[in-house]
Each structure stands twice: as C-alpha cells, then as structure tokens.
C-alpha cells in the first residue's frame, strides 16, 4: 500500500496500478509501469517498473510529478475453476489432489512483498507435466490455510474430505499443505482415517513455487506417484529425501517431523525407516515392509477429539506454577516434552514439578511424557524420582514424537475417562506411532 498522499494523488489523476506512467523529478524523467507497493520500505516512494524489467523507488516530493501514459496491464483477479478432472489415460490410476494452501501453492504478495498461498491445486497439476505419466488427476483447492494457522477443526475437515474422495473411488489422495505443521496434520489424519484402503500423501514445498528451482515439482510428482501407484495404504509425508532433486521419501505420518527450517529435505523420519523411496523417473522402492497394504475396506473417520490438551516443554529454571495455569483453565490432558530419557526437575521445592504432576493426576488429568531429544525412546524407571510417578500413572510414551503424543492424547480423552484405559490406549500402537524396536539405522544426522 502506498501512503495516503500517493493513493489520493493516483486517484485524482485516474492512475491505476499497472498503468504506464511518466514520473518527472526536476530534470529527470522515468517512464515505466507503476507497481503495487509492498509495505516495507518507503511507502511514500512510487515503485516504477522500467522497460527492462527492473523496479526502482522514486520518492514523492514537491519536485515530483506523475502523469498517466497508457494502460499496460492489470493485476489479474482471475481464478481458475476450483474443480477439474484431467484424464490422461484411462488405464492409469486416478488420484484426487486436495489443496489446503501453504508455500506449495504460492505467489508473490505485492502488498507485503511476501509469498502467499494462491495457486489453485489445479495450477500445480498443470505446472508438473510429468504428472500425466503416473495418474489421472482431479484437483481441488478446499481451503487456503497457511500451515501455522492449521487447527484440530481443520484436520477434521480435511479428514472428511479425504474420506469422501476415497469413497468416490479414487486410487489415492494427495494433500498439498504448508510445511511448518505438515507433520501434525499427517499424524492427525493417521489416527482419524481408520481402515484406510488407499495411500494418502501429504506434500509441501520448502521453496516457493514462483522460482525455477522450486522443490514442489519433484515433491508433488512423487506424492502423486506414491498415491496412485504404491501399495502402501497409509498416511505419509512425501518430500525431498536429500538436497538433490532426484528422489523423495514416503515417511509414515506418525513418524515424520520437520527437522530443518529451510532445507528441502527438512522432513525426516524419527525412530522409523522411510516406507518408500520414490524417484524422479517414476520408480517406487519399498524400504520398510512394515506397512498397511491397500485393501477394499470402507474408510471410517474417527473425528472425536478432546482439544483441551497442552504440549509443554521442560527447561531449566521452569516455574512449576505454569502447570497450575493449565489445571485452572480446565485442561484435560498434558503432554510433557521432558529432557533426555524423560526427566523433569525434582530436586528442590522451588523448581520441582512432582507436586504439580501429582495434583494434575489426582484431578484425573493424564500426564504423558515424551522427550525433547526428538530421537530415541523415553524410559520410565531409570530415574528413581520418576518411578513413583510412573506407578501413579504418568504415561511414558515410548518412542512417540511429542507432537504425535499431543494429538493421540486428544483421541484418548475423547474416548475414555478412566486413567487406566487412557494409559492403555496411549501405549497401544494405533497408527505406527510406537515401534517395538529402536533401530540404529533410524538415527541419521546429516
């Protein structure tokens, strides 16, 4: 947005964004297209696109004059129709691509200068010509939600949409999603979609799609191929396996985590082996045979969630009264991201969390322990102070990721009131979130 003064000046001169103008300043003249103004920088400067494509900012002051020459272009408001089916070859499987927003479907936002979600899922499909070699596609954008704005209500909406698409006969589902919380949605869908008969791939992009080097092309191609042609009827994230644009990993939805802020291989499996490797030429190689096969069961959506669950990180110097806040606010369950094997401060009265946890459990609020180490398994009985808590019902969540335990506890609380039942549910593997063995090869530090 330009300053009030410039906005009214443009209005009075009937100059619209996209018009070719002549800006004069003293003896100097600049002809070019007046561009939308990003909010950062000097909002009292005109942004002019010169004929060679460069933009410059020209400060509006007493010596500056602007004159309209002609209409050059208009900001396109046109949107593609939201739903479209593309049948390339009747012999190919058909998949449904569901767009939810995020960087994978992004354009430049001239107001903020940032990148925002705007391409329809169909645009993405059109951007990736190789898609036609692996599947017929239906593309539909159901929402435009940035990853960080996702919520349990939206997970439920997505789950129902996925189920509907599966019921209407698609051979696989691709969900495009922002990357920040992609693994939360993946975990939520893993628990919600029961008796899943087909693959469901969650896919995002770490680079915006407006650049030639975007990772979306490979990611979406691999996700589509995985959804259409793999035998793995599980919810998976499908993203770059490494920094090369040559193959992606399909990682189980409950075992995938964003482990890097910006790299294209940010999603890596935690305490699990990737289920498959999908390469840029279309090959699918199974890497982990422990998965659910495609079938013909009818998918059910388990959408009962108790959302009054908190995920709390333990740190040195933490004030234990923080726990009182959650209790007072009526929280029904707590996931504690503890240190190391599952430790919390217990030594002195000022910092000990033991009394708070006892209080919570006394009130029927389950306390689930995971580790902030991310990799590895928590252990309930090594640390003697915790043995007492363990016997009182604190739940040590094995090798479950904190984010996954947070979502699983929502399901547990919606199903059960009894602490023992909750504990049993939390410690029973439902969607691959708990493995029996921790394998050495599953800890890869790049």
């Amino acid at each position: 947005m330009y300053s009030q003064e410039i906005e009214s000046l443009l209005k009075s001169k009937k100059i619209k964004i996209g018009d070719k103008v002549l800006v004069t300043k003293g003896k100097l003249e600049h002809a070019g297209i007046i561009m939308p103004r990003i909010e950062m920088g000097d909002i009292s400067s005109f942004v002019i696109k010169l004929s060679n494509g460069y933009n410059i900012g020209i400060k509006h002051d007493r010596d500056t004059n602007i004159r309209r020459l002609e209409t050059a272009w208009r900001l396109s408001q046109k949107k593609n129709p939201d739903v479209k089916k593309l049948v390339f070859d009747k012999a190919l499987p058909s998949i449904s691509i569901i767009g939810t927003g995020g960087t994978i479907a992004s354009k430049i936002d001239y107001r903020s200068g940032g990148v925002y979600a705007s391409f329809s899922a169909e645009d993405i499909a059109n951007q990736i010509p190789q898609l036609k070699t692996v599947a017929n596609i239906k593309a539909e954008q159901i929402m435009e939600i940035m990853s960080e704005d996702m919520s349990p209500e939206i997970w439920i909406e997505i789950a129902h949409k996925v189920a509907k698409e599966i019921e209407s006969g698609f051979d696989g589902i691709v969900i495009t999603h922002g990357t920040d919380t992609l693994h939360y949605t993946a975990a939520a869908l893993s628990f919600m979609l029961r008796d899943l008969p087909v693959p469901v791939a969650l896919v995002g992009a770490q680079r915006s799609s407006d650049r030639g080097s975007g990772d979306a092309v490979l990611n979406v191609f691999c996700a589509a191929n995985f959804a259409a042609n793999s035998s793995i009827a599980e919810v998976c994230t499908v993203m770059h396996a490494g920094m090369d644009d040559n193959f992606c990993y399909a990682i189980r939805g409950t075992k995938s985590r964003k482990l890097h802020t910006s790299r294209r291989d940010a999603f890596q499996p935690v305490n699990d082996t990737p289920l498959a490797r999908i390469d840029s030429e279309g090959g699918i190689e199974i890497l982990n045979t422990n998965y659910r096969l495609r079938g013909d069961k009818k998918v059910k959506v388990d959408d009962k969630l108790e959302t009054k669950v908190a995920l709390i990180k333990i740190y040195p110097g933490m004030d234990p009264s923080i726990i009182d806040y959650y209790i007072e606010k009526g929280y029904k369950g707590l996931v504690i991201e503890a240190t190391g094997l599952g430790h919390i401060p217990t030594l002195n009265e000022k910092y000990s969390l033991l009394p708070k946890f006892e209080k919570a459990m006394h009130l029927g609020i389950p306390v689930v322990i995971t580790s902030q180490c991310i990799h590895g398994r928590v252990h309930p009985t090594i640390y003697h102070n915790l043995r007492k808590l363990f016997t009182r019902g604190v739940i040590f969540a094995e090798d479950m990721l904190s984010e996954v335990a947070y979502i699983k506890l929502m399901f547990a609380l919606a199903k059960f009131k009894d602490m023992h039942q909750i504990k049993e549910f939390m410690l029973t593997n439902i969607a691959g979130e708990i493995t029996e063995r921790t394998l050495s090869k599953d800890f890869v530090v790049k």
Binding site: L28, H30, M35, I38, M40, G41, D42, S45, V47, K49, L50, S51, N52, G53, Y54, N55, I56, G57, I58, K59, W73, S76, I108, D109, Y110, G113, G114, V115, Q127, Q206, R207, D210, R211, G212, S213, G214, V217, L218, M243, D244, D245, N246, T261, S262, R263, R264, S280
Partner: protein, 483 residues
C-alpha cells in the same frame, strides 16, 4: 587478418555491459568468503529447473528455451565458500552493506542518479548458473555518463548483482557448476547505444568504464574478475549480445568478427558466447524484460539524500584522471601506466613514487613486468615478501646502493628468505655496485683479448658485472675503452 571495414558506413552500433566483481570479504547475501580459492568440492548436489512465470504473468522465451533442453545441473559446494544460501537451501541474508557502498560509489563516479529506493529483483536465468533459477540484481544508478575523446558516453544504468556460478563441465545434458563464485558481489555497468565508433574505440570505452569501477580500490583482480558483454548490430539490423568477454583485448576482435558474421549470415536477435579466439557461438534467444520479478525475501533499501551527499564528498579520484596524471606528471608510457593501474601493487606504487626519489618507470616496471616474469618463469612466491621489504628495495635504489638491474635477483632472494633484508641480499648475492673505474678495469682486460668485437666484449663484460652497475653505463665504458 581481418579485413578493414568502414564501420561508420555499416552503421555499427555497440552497447557495452561491463561486469566487475567487488572485493568485499563476504558475499552479497550471505557471510561466505568471496575468495574463490578452494579447489576441492566437499560435495556435489544435483538439481532441476522448471519454467516459471514473471511478475507480469508472462513466461520468458529464453527461459522456455532453456527448459526444453531438459538438463540436470550439478553444483559443487566448498567449505568456506558455500553455505545453505548458495545451495538455495536457506533464504538470503540482508544485502551486504559494504558492497552497496562500493556500488553506489561506482554509480556516482559515473555521474549517475541514485534511486531513492533500491529494489532487489530476481532475473530468471535458467541456464543453471544461478541455482535458485534467478540472479538477484538491483539498479543502484541511472542516467550517468563519462567522457571519451570529448564525447559524452551515456551510462544507462549501474546494477549491483550476485555473480552467477561458474561452469565446470557440460556433457550429455549434465552440466556442472562451482558454487563458490555464486553470490560474489558484481557491479554491472551498461552504456547506451554507441554509434559512430570503431571496434577499437568500443574497446577503449570499455577500458575507461572498467577503470572507473576500479577507482574505488575495492574491486577484484585477475582473470574473470571483469567481464564484458557487447551488443552488436549493423545497418539497423537485429541485435546480438555476445556474453562473457574475459579479456578486454579481445573485445575489438570480437566486434570485428561479429560484424563480419552478421554481414554473411542473416542475423537473429540472440545471445551468443565469446570464444577464446574472438569468434562467437549461439547461446540462446535474447532474454526479455519478462524475466524480472521482485526479490521478496528482503525489503527495499531506502537511500537518503544525506547518504548520497556524504558519498559524493568522499569519492576516490577517478582512475581516468589518475591515468592522465601517471602519463603526464610521472611520465609513464601509456602501456605501463595502464599496467600499473591494473596491478594489485597500485597503492604501493603510489606510496613509493610520492615518498622516494626513484624514477617512476623503474618502480612501475618492478611491480609489473619484473614481478610478473619472476612469478611466471621462475615460480617465485612473491606473496612471501612483506610490503616493507619491497619498499626497502627502493630505499636502496634511491640511495644508489644498488642498481635497477639487480632488482630481480633481490626480489627472488627476498621471496626465498622472507626474514632477511635487502642488505642481506647484497652481501649474499655479491651485488654491491661497482664504480665506473672498477668496470673500466674489467673492460680493459676483456678488450685486450684477441678478436674482440664490441658486441662480444660488451656481452662478456655484462656477464661479469650484471646487477652491479647500470647497463647503459657499461655500454659507454666498453665503447670508450675500445676507442
């Protein structure tokens, strides 16, 4: 030999784009070193590029063309010279302010107007040389000029950009680039259409623009640090752009060849690459304005009036003036003056000629031909010699404790024994100057031998006294003794 052509009659039009790397310690958008010294990659990553839309929703023809070639790009990473930014795995950091200052200085030296706000753009380059698929570039100056032979040469714009990755190999659709050059600050200076100049004059104009950039003293030296692109058309025909002329001396030849090619073939609007022999090869169609869109990861930079005024007050002496001064005041021949301007010892040269009574041509040739010869022919490690040792040589010359002929031997000695001084060199190499009387004695003895013609006698005497007395003096002595 190329035939002589009447370029005026052919209506030769040239446009120059001079690219000069800046000598900042860090890259334009990250904190990696700009050294470009590392030879062994720590790993290679492989990428694909895809066609994209520009800000105006138009896909660029050049970009499409490259895409159709379906190539796989391999990028070599280096330990100190690459981070996740060059690998396109991390958003860029804020613009290097040192590079911006130098670029603004260059723009002002070229009499440019500075935009009130600098907008960094992404210029789509899908030949793979920018791993992100675009090169970041921003206008820092507009509508400048320099004068050449009394003519006003228009400088249309000065841009600050990130240098692209350098190509290592290309075979069967597999293209390999080194990432260490990617992101090195680069200033591009574009001229308006130059009409009525010969290829040789275009080369001279390129030289003058180049030394204006170097006036800041903050530009890189050596092969590839300055590169010229030249746009050529004749008889109002289509324009071709020849990219990557690394040797300025080749520029006029390239223009001559390209004019001849355009006369023979029917030229098309296209981008061509310069070959080492001065001929060119087709690269891709000419890119258009559609390939530009804003860099949205960082915000526009406001340049205040005060900032510009302050820079103007502190501008360095333009090297075009310096070149004149070297030629008139210091009486350096044109070639030597240019050589010392292009030398990394320029500052030291100026310091020495302003403080010591030594002939400037002697100082200049020491820092150019003598040192270059020693490095090239005798692999002398010149960097081992500290600056004060080099200065010491000229103290000895000033005090006539050595003759200029002994300089190469002394430099060689100092590079071998960096702890020692010039005095040690004199002792160890036996280079204490001889008096005229000493040399006369030697000459007499030689001349007295049978069958001794002047040439032969002079040669023998020189071999005995080389580096201990001026050669001119020896000639005089031998002549007088022979009379």
């Amino acid at each position: 030999m190329t035939q002589k052509l009447d370029y005026k009659k052919l209506r030769l039009k040239g446009g120059l784009e001079i690219h000069q790397q800046l000598d900042t310690s860090r890259k334009l958008f990250c904190n990696c070193s700009t050294g470009m010294k590392e030879k062994t990659p720590i790993f290679t990553t492989q990428r694909k590029l895809h066609p994209v839309q520009s800000e105006l929703g138009l896909t660029d023809a050049a970009a499409q063309f490259e895409y159709l070639r379906d190539r796989v790009f391999h990028y070599q990473a280096f330990s100190n010279e690459t981070c996740l930014v060059e690998l396109d795995e991390e958003p860029i950091h804020p613009l290097n302010s040192e590079a911006l200052q130098i670029a603004l200085q260059i723009a002002l030296l070229l009499n440019c107007e500075i935009p009130n706000e600098i907008h960094i753009m992404r210029k789509n380059l899908i030949d793979g040389s920018a791993i992100s698929g675009f090169q970041r570039t921003a206008i820092v100056g507009l509508n400048g000029h320099i004068s050449y032979k009394g003519h006003r040469i228009l400088i249309t714009q000065v841009t600050l950009e990130e240098d692209a990755a350098a190509i290592v190999a290309e075979e069967n659709g597999r293209v390999t680039y080194r990432l260490n050059r990617l992101g090195v600050p680069l200033v591009e200076i574009d001229t308006g259409i130059l009409e009525g100049y010969s290829p040789q004059e275009l080369q001279e104009i390129a030289y003058h623009i180049g030394i204006m950039a170097r006036s800041t003293g903050k530009t890189k030296h050596g092969i590839g640090s300055i590169r010229q692109d030249v746009n050529i058309s004749i008889r109002n025909g289509p324009r071709t752009e020849v990219k990557g002329v690394q040797e300025l001396g080749l520029l006029s030849k390239i223009v001559e060849f390209e004019v001849q090619r355009q006369m023979k073939e029917k030229p098309k609007e296209e981008t061509r690459a310069a070959n080492l022999d001065g001929t060119t090869r087709f690269l891709r169609p000419l890119p258009g304005a559609n390939r530009m869109y804003p860099e949205t990861d960082i915000v526009p930079i406001i340049i205040t009036k005060e900032h510009v005024e302050n820079l103007k007050k502190n501008l360095p002496e333009p090297w075009t003036n310096k070149l004149e001064r070297f030629k008139t005041k210091l009486r350096l021949p044109d070639g030597l003056a240019r050589e010392i301007l292009g030398s990394e010892y320029l500052n030291l040269f100026e310091k020495i000629v302003s403080t010591k009574k030594v002939e400037p041509t002697v100082v200049a040739s020491t820092f150019t031909s003598i040192i270059k010869d020693l490095v090239r022919r005798e692999k002398v490690e010149i960097d081992r010699i500290s600056e004060h040792r080099l200065v010491e040589i000229f103290d000895y010359l000033q005090d006539k404790k050595i003759v200029k002929e002994s300089v190469p031997e002394i430099v060689k000695y100092l590079a071998t024994y960096p702890q020692n001084g010039v005095g040690d060199a004199l002792k160890e190499l036996d280079l204490n100057p001889l008096t005229i009387a000493d040399v006369r004695e030697i000459a007499k003895e030689i001349v007295s031998q049978p069958n001794m013609a002047f040439e032969k006698a002079y040669g023998i005497v020189m071999s005995k006294v080389r580096g201990k007395i001026d050669a001119q003096e020896v000639m005089k002595i031998v002549k007088s003794v022979m009379k």
